[in-house]
């Protein structure tokens, strides 16, 4: 189990992996980023309420996307997908507003 995430599921992992790759391609202005973004839609809606709430509470901390060239990171990792660290190592869930998203859903 990845540090920082209380629980994971294959769908959640798939979403996070696609998200990380999508962000990397976005930084390179690669139009394929939108293909990955499109692929994330059905996965998002197939997640549980709890998984969606957890993802919506995150504060993204993408060190690879902040100061370092993404292309350099990709080369160092030996490719786009297989060698990249899991996105879950790049994000930290925010724990101070744990129920806000669910409350929002209920209120709608």
């Amino acid at each position: 189990m990845e540090k920082g995430l209380a629980m994971t599921s294959p769908r959640l992992e798939a979403y996070l992996d696609l998200e990380r790759s999508m962000l990397a391609l976005d930084e390179l202005s690669d139009p394929l980023a939108d293909k990955l973004r499109d692929a994330m839609d059905p996965i998002w809606y197939a997640l549980t309420d709890e998984e969606r709430a957890m993802l919506s509470r995150r504060e993204l901390q993408p060190p690879a996307l902040r100061g370092t060239s993404v292309a350099k990171v990709l080369r160092a990792e030996g490719g786009l997908l297989p060698g990249l660290p899991s996105l879950t190592t790049l994000v930290e869930p925010r724990t101070t507003s744990g129920t806000s998203f669910r409350a929002d859903l209920r209120a709608a």
Partner: protein, 148 residues
């Protein structure tokens, strides 16, 4: 159904406003086109015409989020909108009042699997794909920028 009424099927609630993240065109209104970042549907994908090229309600349409832009998936929220947003920087969130669809060839159907967070703007009756896309394009001036 009365002429001009907005049809809501499988009603679990009545969203008065719908949200969608889209690329702004030079005039600030959403760009038209067959992309999930434009005001348009991906064909096939978002909607499937039948063998005669016609589309109908209940078979997909333009994806929107009801009631609140916070219900957009994080990867559709333009970066900077929220700490968790991973959408394309430069895109905007637009809102559409449900009233804008009154009298149009369009209706709103909440996603039966996720009615609180997802809905579809669909054809209100069987029509050609061209007519459906024209009806969607006809809403362009009704979309208001909600973010930024």
């Amino acid at each position: 159904m009365p002429q001009g009424a907005v049809r809501l099927t499988e009603v679990a609630y009545t969203p008065s406003v719908l949200f969608r993240s889209m690329s702004p065109d030079t005039d600030g209104l959403p760009r038209l086109g067959r992309s999930r970042r434009n005001l348009g549907v991906v064909v096939p994908g978002d909607i499937e015409p039948d063998a005669s090229g016609e589309v109908a309600g209940g078979r997909g349409g333009l994806s929107v989020s009801p009631c609140s832009m916070s219900k957009l998936p994080p990867h559709r929220q333009p970066r900077g909108m929220r700490p968790s947003s991973t959408g394309r920087r430069g895109d905007c969130v637009y809102s559409l009042d449900l009233e804008a669809l009154t009298g149009s060839l369009l209706s709103v159907r909440p996603d039966p699997e996720n009615p609180w967070i997802h809905a579809l703007i669909e054809p209100s009756k069987t029509m050609t794909l061209h007519d459906y896309e024209s009806a969607l394009s006809g809403t362009r001036s009704e979309w208001k920028r909600a973010w930024p």
